[in-house]
Amino acid sequence: MKTWQRSLLVLLGLMALCGTAAYAQVPNPPATEFPYTGNRMAVWIVAQLHILFAAFILGAPIFVVISEWLGYRKQDPRYDRLAKEVMKVTVILYSMTALTGGLFIFVLLATYAQFTTWLINHFFLIFAVIYPLLFIGETIVLYLYFYTWDSWKGEKKGRHIALGVLLNLIGTITLFVIDGPTSFMNTPSKAVEGISLVDFIQTASLWEKVFNYSWMPMNLHRLVGNVTFGGFITGLIAAYMYMGAKNDNERSYYDWMGFVGNLIGVGALLFLPFMGYLLAYELCDYDASICPYMMADQLSMFFEMQGAMVGLIFLASNYYIWLSMKRIEGVERVRMSALTMLVMIALPFVMTYAWTIFPVPDPTSLGVLLPLVLAPVILGKVIPPLGRITVSSRTFIKVGFLMVVVGNAIWMTPHGFVATQALATEHLELPSDWGFLALMPAKNSAAFTLVFVTVVNYILYNRAIRQGTIVWGKIDFVSQFVLIFLAFSAIWTMGLMGAVRSLLRKYFHTYNLMPDFTAESFTPTLSYSAWWITAITLAFYIIVSFAIVVTLRVSEGKAHAPEAKPIPAGAE
C-alpha cells in the first residue's frame, strides 16, 4: 500500500471515529425496555385494562337510562335505584378509564414512538380535536346526569332521562370515532387500482381511512359487547351486595337486581356471536390469508378456547334461568309445546345441512330456518291436537341443557388438535367424512342452537311468572356465584378476543403497511396469553370490587323503599 493510500485510510478512519462520536452526541433518549413483561406485554396490559373500563362506562349507561325510564314509566322505584347504583360505580370507573387511557398513550409513546407518531399524524384531527372534545363533552354530561339525579325528579324526570340519552349518544359516537384508528390498524383502506398501498394511504382522506373494512363490524361488535359486559357487571354488583345484605329487604332487592343485570347481559349476548361472525367475515373478505391464520394456524387454539368460554357462558346463563325458576311458586304447572322441544333437538343438525348447501350470506337458508323455528306455532294452529302435546317445564329445560352441551360440542370440535396445520397428521385430524363438523355451517348452527335454547328458556320463564309468584330474595345462594362467574368469564373472553384481534395484524403495527421490527412481533402461545389475560382480569376485578364496596356498601344504611314482599310476578 502506498503512502497516500495509507493516509487516505487513516483519514477515513478518523472521520469514522469523529462520525461515531458525532452520532453519539444526538440527544436520543435511552430506549424504554419494560422489565419482565417486555414492551409489547406492557402495552397489552395497559390497553386491555383501558378497554375493559371503557367498555363498562360506555355499556352501563345504555341500560342505566333504560332502567331509569322503566322506573319512571312503571313507577317502580327499584329500577331507579338500580340505575343510580350502577351509575355510582360508573362514575368511579370513569376516572379509571381516563387514567388508564393516559397511561396507555404514555406507554405507547415510550415503547413504540415511531409508530405512535405515525398513527397520530394519520388521524391527527381525531386524536387532537374530535376525541378530546367528545371526551370533555361526555365528562360534562356524565357528571351532570349523575349529580342531577335527585334534583331532577317528578316533572323533571323526563329532562333527566333525555340527558341520559344524550350521554349515550356522545358515548356511542366516541366509540365509533376511536374505532376508526383501531380498525384501520387491522384493515387499512384498500388502495385504488394502480397505486401502491403506501402511496394511497399518504394521500387518503380521514374518512377513507376511518371507513375501512372492519370499522362498522367492530363498532357493532363493541357496542353489543359493551351492553353485555355492563349487564354482567351489574349482576356482579348485585351478587356482592346480596352476599353482604343484612336483611330480607336488601336480599330481595339485590336478587331482583341480579336478575335484571343478567337479563340485559344475556339479551345482548344473544347477538354477540353473530356480530363476532360479521367482524370475522369482513376481516377474511379484506384479506383471505387472515382466515387460515385465525382458524387453522397460529390462532386456531385461541378460537378453541373462545368456543369453550362462550359455551360456559351460555351454560351458566341458562343455569341462572333454571335457578330463577326454582324460586317461582307454582312453576310446576307450567308446560311447553313438545313441538318446540323437537325443533330445539333438530335445529343443529338441520341447519348444519342447510348452511352447507346455502352458505351464509346466501339468504336461501332462511327458507329453511324460518319455517323450522316457526313450525311449533304454525303446526300448533293448523293441527290443534299437535299443539296440545306438551312437556313439563322441568323436562323442557333439561332437554334444552342437553342441546346446549351438544351445541358446545359442535362449536368446540376442531379440524385437528394441532396448533398449526403444518403439524397436522391423520392421528390428530377429523376423518375426512366428518370434516364438516369443523366448518362454518356447523359452527353457525351450534351458535344458533345456543341462542335458540336461551330465548326459549326465557319465554318459558316469562310464562312461569305469569302463572306463578316470584319470591324475591329466596333464590338458591349458588346463583350469586353464577353471576360472578358470568362477569369473570365475560371479561376473560373479552381479553382473549381482544388479543386475537390485535394479533391478527401479524408482524405489522398496521397490517401490510407499518411493519413491527421489534423482536416481539411473533404470535405468543395460548398458555402465555392466558396467564396475562387472567392477571389483567383479576386486576380489573380488584379495582371494580373496590369501587363497588366503596360506593355502595358505604351508603348501605340509608333507607330504601321496601321491595321485599313477595309479589305476584305478573302484576308489574
Binding site: 452520532y23 352476599m243 387460515p292 397460529q298 387454539m301 312453576v331 408482524y507 421490527f517 402461545t525
Partner: protein, 271 residues
Amino acid sequence: MAEQPSLIKNIIKKGIIGLIVGGVLVGVAKALTFPPVFQVMFFSYAILGAAVFILLDAPSIKPIGGLKAIVALVAFYAVLSGAYIGGATFLPQYDPEDEKGKIEKLLKAKRAASEQGKAEELLARAKALSEKADAIMARLQTVGGVAEAPAGADGAKAAGAPAGGDLVALGKEQWNLQECYNCHKLFGEGGKKRGPEMDNIGNLMKPDELKQKVMDPQTWMAEGFEKEYEKKKMPNKYKELMEEKEVDALVAFLSSLKNTAVNTPKPIKKK
C-alpha cells in the same frame, strides 16, 4: 321445582349415566374411525353433560356472609383462574420459534429500507471503519513492512453472503414464508380448497404469466374457481410485500412444478 335427591345419590346416578353415554360415544367414534384424541373429546363432553345435570339437581346451598363469603369468593376466583389457565395450557401450543425466523426473513428488506435500518447500517459501517483505523494505527506505530489489507467487516460480510445460485430453492422458501400453502395444495400438502392445486402449474403458465398473477391476482383465474375469483380470495398484496427478486424466485419455483399426474386447473386470462 321438584323434590331434591341427596348430593351423593345425585352424583353417583348422573356420574354413571355420564360414563355410560361417554363409553357409547367412544365406541361409536372408534367405529367411525375418529382418532383417539377425538374419542377422548367426545367422552369429556359426556362428562360435561353429566356435570351439568348434577348441578341442575344439586340441593340448594344456604346463604353465607362476612368472612366466610370473602374466603369463598377468593377461593372461587382462584379456581376460575386456575381452570382457565389450565384449560388454555392443556390445548396444543403454537411454537413462536417457528415464526421468529420467518418474520426475520420477511422483514429483512423492509428493515434495511427503514430509518431504523439505515441508522443501524450506518452504525455498523462506522464501527467497521473505526476498527480498520485502529488496526492501521497499530501498524503505523510498528513502522516498516508491507501493510496487508486488514480483514474487516466487509470481508466477513462477503464470506457470510448467501450463495446466490439456487433460485428455485429460494422460491420454495418464499412459498413457505408467504404461506401460500394455506390456500394451495402442493406435493399433497396444505390447501383448504380456497385455491387450485399447483403441482402442474409449470406446464400451464409461462414465467411472465405467473409473475403477472402474483403481482395482480385478478389477471388470471383458475378454471372451476369462479366464485373465489369473484370474491378476490387471492390477496392483492404481494407486489407490496415482496421484493422483485423474491417474486422472481417464487416464479422460478412455480415454473419448475411440472407433475402431469396432478390435475392443476387450467388458467384463464382475465385482464
